[in-house]
């Protein structure tokens, strides 16, 4: 009895357990194998997996709302959309600051486009509001200016809100610019990034926040220098709101210059004429006085949304939960069903047409089978568009097939068959285009079936049919499986042929996806539709694997 058998462990010659030593030897091999496939793996990851993952992520991603309207998204959270009233003054003030910053960054129209997917009319509403929002707060700006003209001087704001170290940086930058200009050199250095003075956010929170956004937005533009521009009117709105809320004690914590400016203002704001924000927004567009628009903003202010997926299955996310789309706008479920049914039909047609051809190919003498194979491959090598267009010429009502039928007398001139611009057209053209994908795997499987089996069956008394059905056919099933998977998966994602010959009843879900990618630019919805399509294919593949077994599939 050796040591190893007693402890139940096999040892290698050097005394290490055999298992570990084997693993070590294999690890090197695996590593080498991995290194060999690494270039391809990397290539696929970068050019295939990553873009698809990115695209799929878009189907739930919705950061644009909370990124463009950060304050409003926060402020509107507690508003009750069933109250029948637009949100409070606080929300409107937050929205004003968000909007003006978005306008400066030219993001408000982009947001409008996004929200227009959920509610019609928001695209133009945001464009329109973008033109008007700059005036909100003008009342306050004018009143502050009347109180002390220094309030319209950019320098006052810089002194009040900019960090002293930033001011020093800015002075240095300005000196460098002056020097460059006087020397006739071009000067492209950007303004140093704006920094807020410590403590201001505690005293005048909204104003500090709004001014910071102003400075950043101005810097984002071409040659933007916050020190050269008085803030937007909405910043004065924030200042008014802060000053009506803040206590004298807070202002006293600031430096003397700031106190000298803020104390009289703090006193005076009580007498300021108030601007009714709700009325101002209603003046820009009546839609703002309705709760609907606000409810849409509230519903879609989350960073991730199921909205696109809901739309993709004919549902709709509303403030009151998920509802069904109106009956006259339901198209997606119908399109998914149509895509599946037609793909299955095309697959079936390919089996029926392809099997005899593959059988002939595999069983004819070499010379004639080669010729036949060329006939199969020739259209396979021809451009897809050429073949599709050729079907147009053949199938249309004044086309070759109808002309021949009329000439023979099978149909009369008034009753010409409608073979194109409908489902028939799509099925005929796609069956033709996908046929080689059925024939080739079938052929390669049939090639490997030894003819001696059928001969043996016949010699034992089987009829031709029995020999074929009981002996030959079962052996060709893996080829049918491979062909069906290939044809079905290709068919389900087909796009150009249905577009050209499908008319209205023969188009697929992929035509809608293409429309949303390139025309309506609703990439989120396109991604959701694509994800569902991918899910359906994987589910069907899994079912197939369960029923037939994927190891039974043979590509030859």
């Amino acid at each position: 009895m050796t040591e190893a058998t007693r402890t139940g462990q096999m040892l290698a010659a050097d005394g290490t357990p055999l298992k570990r030593s084997l693993q070590r030897a294999l690890r090197a091999q695996k590593l080498r194998a991995l290194m060999l496939i690494a270039p391809l793996l990397l290539f696929i990851m970068v050019t295939f997996v990553a873009p698809i993952a990115d695209m799929l992520f878009r189907s739930v991603e919705n950061q644009i709302v909370s990124d463009t309207l950060p304050r409003s998204a926060q402020a509107i959270r507690d508003w009750d959309h069933n109250s029948g009233e637009p949100p409070s003054e606080d929300v409107l003030a937050a929205f004003t600051i968000d909007m003006i910053a978005a306008v400066e960054r030219k993001q408000h129209t982009r947001l409008g486009t996004r929200l227009n997917y959920e509610q019609n009319g928001l695209s133009s509403l945001f464009r329109k509001t973008g033109r008007g929002v700059g005036d909100i707060g003008e009342t306050y700006r004018d009143q502050f200016a009347a109180l002390d003209p220094a309030w319209t001087d950019p320098g006052t704001w810089i002194a009040l809100f900019a960090d002293p170290s930033w001011q020093a940086d800015h002075d240095a930058w300005e000196a460098a610019r002056t020097a460059a200009r006087s020397a006739g050199r071009s000067f492209a250095e950007p303004v140093p990034p704006f920094r807020l003075k410590d403590g201001m956010a505690g005293v005048l929170p909204e104003t500090a926040d709004a001014y910071l956004d102003f400075a950043r937005a101005v810097q984002g533009g071409r040659n933007g220098d916050p020190a050269a521009r008085a803030p937007w009117p909405p910043v004065y709105l924030a200042l008014y709101r802060d000053l009506t809320a803040v206590g004298v004690g807070r202002i006293a914590t600031l430096d003397e210059a700031a106190q000298a400016l803020l104390d009289p203002a703090h006193y005076a704001v009580r007498g300021f004429e108030r601007a009714d924000l709700a009325a101002l927004y209603a003046g820009i567009d009546r839609a703002w006085s309705q709760p609907d628009v606000w409810a849409t903003i509230q519903t879609f202010s989350a960073r991730y949304t199921p909205g696109y997926f809901l739309t993709a299955v004919d549902l709709k996310q509303t403030p009151d939960g998920i509802t069904s789309q109106p009956a006259d706008q339901k198209i997606y479920i119908m399109l998914f069903e149509r895509t599946l049914v037609m793909s299955l039909t095309i697959m079936g047609a390919c089996v029926l047409l392809g099997y005899p051809i593959a059988f002939l190919l595999a069983n004819l003498p070499m010379r004639s089978s080669n010729l036949l194979l060329i006939l199969v491959l020739l259209p396979f090598w021809t451009s897809l568009l050429v073949r599709t267009s050729a079907w147009k010429v053949l199938l249309q009502q004044q086309g070759v097939i109808n002309d021949i039928l009329v000439w023979i007398g099978i149909v009369d001139n008034a009753g010409r068959l409608i073979l194109i611009n409908n489902q028939t057209g799509t099925i005929i053209a796609m069956t033709h285009i996908l046929l080689p994908f059925m024939i080739l795997p079938l052929y390669s499987v049939m090639k490997t079936i030894p003819p001696s089996y059928v001969r043996a069956a016949k010699s034992l008394g089987a009829t031709n049919w029995t020999a074929f059905w009981r002996v030959y056919f079962p052996q060709s099933v893996p080829g049918i499986g491979a062909g069906c998977i290939l044809v079905f998966i290709l068919a389900i994602g087909y796009y150009i042929t249905p577009e050209l010959v499908g008319g209205t009843s023969g188009t697929f879900i992929s035509n809608r996806i293409a429309y949303h990618i390139s025309s309506s630019l609703n990439w989120g919805l396109a991604a959701a539709l694509g994800t569902i399509l991918l899910g359906v294919v994987l589910a069907l593949y899994w079912t197939y694997d369960r029923l037939v077994g994927i190891d039974k599939v043979n590509l030859g």
């Binding site: 019609n120 008319g503 209205t504």
Partner: protein, 374 residues
């Protein structure tokens, strides 16, 4: 021709070129090449002949043409997200320019500042008029979507349609029609033929019943319609006798009628105007931007836009170019009667309300597709 005649003819040809070259100011800090995106086909050829070739001859700029205008919006958005703009100048239709401008993908330009004044002394903004409808768009041409019909339909008994509503008249004008598989234009035409006034069109469409009314009108001919998705389909169907009338772009009909001599005629009634023009992608480096602006100043002046009409039957977007429109470069046909902007053709016309469509496109599109599928 006498030698003197020949000389003066050459002088006439040579003179404008010489004058042009002198007029063109030098381009400072400019890239040597440009990537221009257009539609391919006859339209792109007209652009190359009318302005790219003369410009290249004068400045030595190399042009690369990308025929991607069809997917320009999607591609520009992708380029913008990737932070790598490879295009310098993009030719798009009006609604796409609005979308690009809204998304911040197109640069805002002040056309009064960057473009040449009209030959008649008008400022660019006056000269371009309605076609310059947003801050990013530099229009070139006006095209229209209109109807062609076959002139030898037996069932019509010698009648020919003289107005748009023949489209809905199956009694007098039986036969298949070819319409675009999109709601835009179709629903406007349907309402016009259902008694709605032009000025009320978009007010009616904004009501909940408006779309229904339009679809109900289209329902009356639905069984006779073959829908198209590419502009070339209607001309092909008309030529093959597959349809008796159908909508398409006026330039396509021009080539069926004038260039290919098919038994087809066209109807200008209620043609829908659309614009095609340039946008500059946002975020170009300075030298490329300078080159683009320098080129645009030349390519959109009064003479160049009028020249373009020699190669394609689309009308120049500048009012000052209209009187300069001459004959087709190869066929020698007088082009003015084939222009959508010709006063004779403009008695009834529509301009799509781009803002309304930007707002309502998604819903109307969904309803239209659902209606088609019924």
């Amino acid at each position: 021709m006498t030698i003197r005649g020949l000389l003066s003819a050459t002088a006439l040809v040579a003179l404008p070129v010489a004058a042009m070259a002198q007029d063109l100011p030098p381009c400072e800090n400019c890239a040597d090449s440009m990537t221009v995106v257009s539609w391919g086909g006859a339209y792109q050829t007209s652009q190359i002949k009318a302005y790219a070739e003369p410009y290249a001859a004068m400045t030595g700029t190399t042009f690369t043409w990308d025929e991607s205008s069809n997917e320009a919006v999607a591609k520009l958005r992708a380029m913008n997200e990737a932070g790598n703009i490879t295009w310098d100048l993009v030719d798009v239709e009006g609604p796409d320019s609005q979308r690009l401008c809204d998304e911040g993908l197109a640069m805002e330009v002040d056309i009064d500042e960057v473009l040449a004044a009209g030959d008649d002394g008008s400022t660019p903004r006056e000269d371009f008029g309605d076609s310059a409808f947003n801050d990013c768009y530099i229009p070139q041409i006006v095209f229209s979507t209109t109807f062609g019909y076959r002139t030898n339909v037996e069932e019509w008994g010698g009648r020919t349609p003289d107005n748009l509503c023949a489209l809905f008249d199956l009694e007098n004008f039986p036969g298949k029609r070819s319409l675009e598989r999109r709601p835009k234009k179709n629903i406007e035409w349907a309402l016009l033929c259902d008694g709605v006034e032009k000025d009320d069109l978009y007010d009616v469409l904004s009501t909940p019943e408006g779309i229904e009314q339009a679809l109900a009108k289209l329902d009356t001919i639905k069984s006779e319609v073959i829908w198209w998705s590419a502009g070339a389909e209607t001309p092909q169907r008309l030529a093959d006798g597959e349809v008796v009338m159908g909508s398409t772009y006026n330039g396509r009909l021009f080539s069926v009628i004038v260039e290919q001599n098919q038994p087809v005629d066209m109807l200008w009634d209620w043609q829908v105007f659309d614009f095609d023009g340039w946008i500059i992608p946002e975020g170009l480096p300075e030298d490329r931007l300078n080159r683009v602006l320098h080129f645009l100043h030349f390519a959109t002046d009064t003479q160049r836009l009028a020249d373009q009409a020699k190669f394609i039957s689309y009308g120049p977007a500048r009012a000052s170019s209209q009187p300069l429109v001459s004959t087709h470069a190869d066929l020698g046909v007088e082009m003015a009667p084939h222009m959508p902007t010709n006063p004779e053709n403009q008695k009834n016309y529509l301009v799509n309300n781009i803002e309304w469509w930007a707002d309502n496109q998604d819903d109307v599109e969904a309803r239209f597709q659902a209606w088609l599928a019924q």
